[in-house]
Symmetry: D2
Amino acid sequence: MNRQALAERIAAVIEREDRASRLLGMKLLEVGPGRARLSMRVSGEMVNGQKVCHGGLIFSLADSSFGYACNTHNQRALAASCSIDFLAPAQLGDELTAAAQETAHAGRTRVYDVRVTNQAGELIALFRGKSAAVKGTWVE
Amino acid sequence: MNRQALAERIAAVIEREDRASRLLGMKLLEVGPGRARLSMRVSGEMVNGQKVCHGGLIFSLADSSFGYACNTHNQRALAASCSIDFLAPAQLGDELTAAAQETAHAGRTRVYDVRVTNQAGELIALFRGKSAAVKGTWVE
Amino acid sequence: MNRQALAERIAAVIEREDRASRLLGMKLLEVGPGRARLSMRVSGEMVNGQKVCHGGLIFSLADSSFGYACNTHNQRALAASCSIDFLAPAQLGDELTAAAQETAHAGRTRVYDVRVTNQAGELIALFRGKSAAVKGTWVE
Amino acid sequence: MNRQALAERIAAVIEREDRASRLLGMKLLEVGPGRARLSMRVSGEMVNGQKVCHGGLIFSLADSSFGYACNTHNQRALAASCSIDFLAPAQLGDELTAAAQETAHAGRTRVYDVRVTNQAGELIALFRGKSAAVKGTWVE
């Protein structure tokens, strides 16, 4: 199986199990070796006390795209630490896209950068996630 | 009005508006000047492809406690950037608590540290958030 | 004056004042709008208790390249917060290069990503810096 | 040997080797299990293009205190990632102190928080470092 087909097969397994991403209405747009792109619409249930999208849900979208991307190598990996910069608020009705890309790899650690943009292409948040490889594979 | 009463009154306003925290079943346990404590139960809808609580939802709990805490001074504040370290997975059924506390204050920036623990008191995640003051107050 | 010439003129002003970068033997290789590249050789004075380059000095190289890059717009800017991931140790005698590039811009905040590599092109560290614009310009 | 005596003996070994900390004039004030306190005077050679202490050298002080603290358990540990928030500038002649304290421990990872203050007790920077245990001990 080539690396692209493997990435897609693993993503299908994750998608089936990942109820949290489903709860937030996320859609997997694209996946490949070391990368993934997901979208999420800011619904009325997602706003916070400032009447814009709750930062935790923007983080969740970025984190899911990171989770897909860092597992495409068929080595199970867990998020160890993440950071996010909020650059512009996401409004009710916005269609957000998170694009995750592998930036570095050293030993058991991989670093991923994620850009979250809205439907106008404006940058909403920058996310950096580090994963740690753990035992186990996704598919045989 | 003293600072404790003010913190409680602002928290009541935020609670009414914050639909995202309600969607995730968060409960405000306690609030005071520069601090807040919230809880959240890990439901079946909150698990990810690894069958543990989605990291974004743990982040959301921490972020909400940070949001309450950094607005207790009656100066509207927004999250500018946040980082999180995941130290142990949160399991289905876990009752998580996030305790936010102000660590530093310089100009328009405030730094908050949040500890997320489970019902056994085990540390699940460490979160650090920086807020930026913006125009406006919560109550007159 | 075009933007490239402006970036170079500002860099010359910073270089004259920046005694700390000189103490560590840093050299400015290249500067342009929103970017800068510096080098530093790991001398015997730069090793730590583990006999590899002190992480603070790797950070300093990245921070200097960030400092040059974020001031190229002729708006004085200060580092507000930075993070670094150490991916491989830098050895005595290594020739390190830090390349800073602007990643995002929102209001008074700019985000820069810096890659620190050694003479073999291996990635030593990934750095992310956020700057805040302050009053004043570098040149008239 | 009790834990305090062990921490002191390891610190003496590190101090002998750590030429970088010596180059910057750092002094070890105190060490104990999971903690360390160091000082550094901002000399004329440490200023940057903005005529305040170079951020990388403030980071270096914090990083050294973290390095001492995370090695007190006689399990060799390396810095994996660090973040710093600069809250106030450090001026020429300032006497800075960095106090590192262990905040969390999970598997091979430990998290340390460091506060950097000046001679007036003002908070200059907040640092968070994560270490990874590696093979080897400091003393038998």
